[in-house]
């Protein structure tokens, strides 16, 4: 079941939460809404769920227009940041509640609850209360509860942000596995770019109530369309400058760099995005020469920042230790020209 969102706007009093958002989630895919807090991603998810009403615009599941359909008739599964397990019910009762409302036969309910808990690896915990489970287990119960009714879409609102780092990585793989096994259409809200890049079919990067870019994780990372997307997803060096007659880039600080190929027609002002892994230390033939101002060890490698003569900072990856103050030469193996300047994250 695909989800179509067309022209959805929403404001709370004076503040605009969403500004004419369009988004299509193809059937069976997982789309993440990625953005900083306050960007409107949770509001959009809650409008899809029916917890909030859009001021304008429409939401459709398949051909079904949801304008007049309340939450309880939308056939959704929702996973909350706070888990929202009912404390007065056991694990099994939590999962079974929606099935009971449907008045399914007892045996069928029992079978579905057992299957659901098996899927999330909680067989044997049926009679526990939510308070007796760890955070990760509680979120598994919430997931089983959301999926027990075999809903048309699965909506998840920062489901892992209350878990510790290691469990978060384990659980996001688990969520991806279950989503692919069940083939359910899913929308996943997060502010964590690693999470978004790892689990999504499509990432929608949101900023200030708008979707800035939607695309496969690789596209969003490698070919950001706006400076906001480039700077929000991963680490990036953004260099703004004017293309010179010989195809170089004249930076604001006065220096001109040659990037191997012209980043645009002469005279154009462009933003060039460089990922740390695209830059390479060289002894001769450097495109950039700068002074190391910061260098940090990150286990698998090092990430350092060099300051160019004009004051611009360039972040790059390398392996061998570098002393602060050393002069380094860098070459960009590839770069991306970002179309629109929407500010930095």
């Amino acid at each position: 079941m695909d989800i179509s969102i067309e022209g959805v706007s929403k404001s709370f009093g004076e503040t605009t939460a969403l500004e004419s958002v369009d988004l299509r989630v193809p059937s069976g895919r997982l789309v993440t809404l990625l953005g900083a807090s306050g960007c409107g991603k949770t509001t959009l998810l809650r409008i899809v769920a029916g917890f909030e009403t859009a001021d304008t615009g429409s939401v459709r599941f398949g051909e079904r227009d949801l304008a007049r359909v309340p939450v309880w008739k939308r056939r959704i599964g929702f996973v909350f940041q706070s888990y929202a397990l009912w404390p007065h019910m056991t694990v099994a009762e939590n999962v079974a509640y929606g099935l009971r409302l449907r008045k399914l036969p007892k045996q069928e309910i029992a079978a579905k609850v057992a299957a659901g808990l098996a899927m999330v690896g909680l067989t044997g915990r049926e009679q526990r209360r939510p308070g007796q489970l760890s955070g990760g287990q509680q979120q598994r119960v919430a997931l089983a509860r959301a999926l027990a009714l075999e809903p048309d879409v699965l909506l998840m609102d920062e489901p892992l942000s209350n878990l510790d780092a290691k469990l978060r990585i384990e659980m996001r793989r688990e969520i991806r596995r279950i989503q692919q096994e069940t083939g359910i259409t899913a929308v996943y809200v997060t502010h964590d770019q690693d999470e978004a890049l790892e689990i999504s079919d499509l990432v929608a990067v949101m900023n200030g109530g708008r979707v800035e870019q939607i695309g496969a994780p690789e596209d969003v990372y490698d070919r950001p369309e706006t400076t906001f997307v480039a700077s929000f997803v991963g680490t990036v060096t953004l260099l703004k400058g004017e293309v010179t007659a010989d195809g170089g880039l004249a930076l604001g600080g006065g220096a001109t760099v040659a990037l191997g190929r012209p980043p645009g027609p002469p005279g154009a002002v462009v933003n060039v995005a460089l990922r740390p892994e695209d830059l390479r230390l060289v002894d001769a033939g450097a495109q950039f020469t700068g002074t190391v101002v910061r260098s940090s060890f990150q286990g698998s490698g090092r990430e350092s920042v060099a300051e160019l003569p004009g004051g611009e900072h360039v972040t790059f990856e390398h392996r061998r230790p570098l002393a602060t103050g050393a002069t380094v030469g860098l070459v960009a193996d590839r770069f991306t020209v970002v179309e629109r300047d929407t500010g930095l994250a």
Binding site: T53, D55, P70, H88
Partner: protein, 559 residues
């Protein structure tokens, strides 16, 4: 598109059953809170000829038949609050920090003490130390000189008030002391403070909000109490009594004087509330979380002093209960106690006065149910709904009875409901409604606190798996707030069944409650004290049995 979805959302709003329930609740509050108070205001600001005037306030201020009781009321309230705090704060500190044998029993007894009937102390101390009291008479016969003739007078009121209210302060301050993170004191010690200095400079200031709130509650209980000064005031006049006598004797002529005094009373209690809020707001530090206070051992003399202090205070707090229960099993002859055990009092009670017992239960029971239903509606709307007008209106109106002394409340009811369009005076309904409205703030607050624990996502989760709002309220919200509803309801019931100050003005024969019977008996020398004691015992049983069951099941405190 825009137009369509906007009209949809406003229609959905009006279909929300909470909106209708909220409007109904608002109507009830307007009729039974605002309307009677308007009558009091009108009566105070119009002259006998019906013109607007401020003369009544000028007359009030110039007449020492009113100013003296006003000063007395304020002074006695402050004295009681201070005295009760002097007893309660040290005991609470010791109990919070040291291992004290019988801790649970002590806490249970203190909880019981906070729900004892407001006039009980006065009645029982009068039986003991009145001019014809058991102790005074025995002392006179034995030739032992007493430092006082009888308990009647200002000293008696303060004495009774202190033992009536110290448990209230104790429980609040005890919780505050327990909540202080031990790390805060350790931090003080680590920078070179002595333990006593740390207590004085760190722990005590952190408990100030609780102490102030406790003192406020204690002072207000005495300020609004009608029974105690009426029974043992002697010639010492206090405002509730003066207002009562004035209104009851004058009601036919002009209610203006009593109304003026009523407004002064409300002003004083409103000012006290503002003062309490300001002090607490300025010093409210969040000290929750962190570790539990460890309990330290106590040995030797300090231990003996502590235990002695705690049990002496408890004994004095429960003297009234013991006296009443004991005397209910003894024979009385024309107001004089015969030391002769009997069940006669109870036989007479059940033969002659069964009706007040039944009526008290029926009135308090119905009022309690009304308060629960309205409390749930108001609390839910205040906590969850974003109604622009009815939300804030309900939230503020519902708290108004909190600062209305029972006497004032009753005067408002009589002025408003003894003529068309709503006539309630002389009916049983007026007592039920008075109980319901007076205790609504307390019931509502306890439910609101519980609702704050129910995260809205719990209801949304139920809706997401197919439960309509009504169903999710029933299956999710109700089970979670049930303990709070039950305990709030029980405490409300206990306060209603022991209510005297409004009842004594509103009741009309045959709608007589237990408290009225006890009070009228206590006021008449030579009346059947034994029967009154027996009835008080019945009242105590009807208060403490539910409280005991409640505390065992939910482990709650009643404030």
């Amino acid at each position: 598109m825009a137009v369509r979805s906007r009209s949809r959302s406003s229609r959905a709003n009006w279909r929300d059953p909470w909106r209708l329930a909220g409007l109904l609740a608002l109507l009830v509050l307007l009729i039974f809170i605002v309307y009677p108070q308007l009558w009091i205001v009108t009566a105070a600001f119009t002259s006998d000829t019906g013109e607007f005037t401020l003369d009544r306030f000028a007359a009030f201020a110039a007449d020492d038949r009113f100013t003296a009781p006003l000063v007395h009321s304020v002074v006695v309230s402050l004295a009681v609050a201070a005295g009760a705090a002097l007893v309660a704060v040290p005991l609470a500190f010791v109990m919070a920090r040291y291992r004290v044998p019988g801790r649970e029993a002590v806490l249970t007894l203190l909880t019981m003490a906070t729900t004892s009937p407001p006039f009980l102390g006065a009645y029982a101390w009068l039986l003991l130390l009145g001019s014809g009291g058991i102790v005074t008479k025995a002392a006179r016969e034995a030739g032992v000189p007493l430092p006082f003739d009888s308990i009647l007078g200002v000293g008696g009121i303060i004495w009774v008030g202190v033992w009536f209210t110290f448990a209230l302060i104790f429980l609040m301050v005890y919780d505050a002391f327990r909540a202080v993170d031990p790390a805060l004191e350790e931090a003080a010690l680590s920078v070179g403070s002595t333990p006593w200095r740390a207590h004085w400079k760190v722990t005590l200031p952190l408990a100030v909000p609780a102490i102030v709130t406790g003192c406020y509650l204690a002072g207000m209980r005495i300020f609004a109490d009608f029974g105690t000064p009426m029974l043992i005031g002697g010639g010492y006049q206090m405002l509730p009594v003066v207002v009562y006598q004035n209104f009851m004797s004058e009601v036919a002529a002009s209610p203006g004087v009593a109304a003026t005094a009523s407004i002064v009373m409300v002003l004083v209690s409103g000012l006290a509330l503002v003062a309490q809020r300001r002090i607490v707001a300025r010093r409210s530090f969040a000290v929750t979380g962190g570790r539990e206070q460890p309990l330290r051992e106590l040995r030797g003399l300090p231990r003996a002093l502590t235990l002695g202090g705690i049990w002496t205070a408890l004994l004095l707090g429960f003297v009234p209960h013991l006296v009443v229960v004991l005397t209910s099993f003894l024979r009385w002859q024309s107001g004089i106690l015969q030391w002769e055990p009997t069940l006669d009092n109870y036989r007479r009670l059940f033969e002659e006065s069964l009706q007040p017992i039944v009526l008290s239960f029926v009135f308090a029971g119905i009022a309690c149910l009304l308060a629960l239903v309205t409390g749930v509606v108001v609390a839910y709307i205040v906590a969850r709904k974003r109604f622009r007008i009815s939300g804030p209106l309900l939230n503020n109106l519902v708290m108004v009875p909190y600062i209305l002394p029972g006497t004032v409340f009753a005067i408002g009811f009589i002025l408003a409901f003894n003529h068309l369009p709503v006539i309630l005076t002389g009916t049983a309904l007026i007592i039920v409604v008075a109980y319901f409205i007076r205790r609504l703030p307390y019931v509502m607050k306890s439910i609101e606190t519980a609702l704050a624990q129910v995260h809205p996502s719990l209801e949304e989760a139920a809706m997401s798996v197919g439960a309509p709002p009504r169903r999710s309220f029933r299956d999710v919200v109700v089970p979670i707030i049930r303990p709070a509803v039950i305990s709030g309801g029980t405490v409300g019931f206990l306060q209603m069944i022991t209510e005297l100050s409004a009842t004594v003005m509103l009741y009309a024969v045959p709608w007589v409650t237990m408290t009225v019977v006890i009070f009228t008996n206590a006021m008449q020398p030579g009346s059947p004290f034994g029967v009154a004691s027996a009835m008080t015992t019945v009242l105590l049983v009807s208060v403490y049995v539910p409280l005991y069951l409640l505390r065992r099941r939910y482990n709650i405190r009643s404030i």
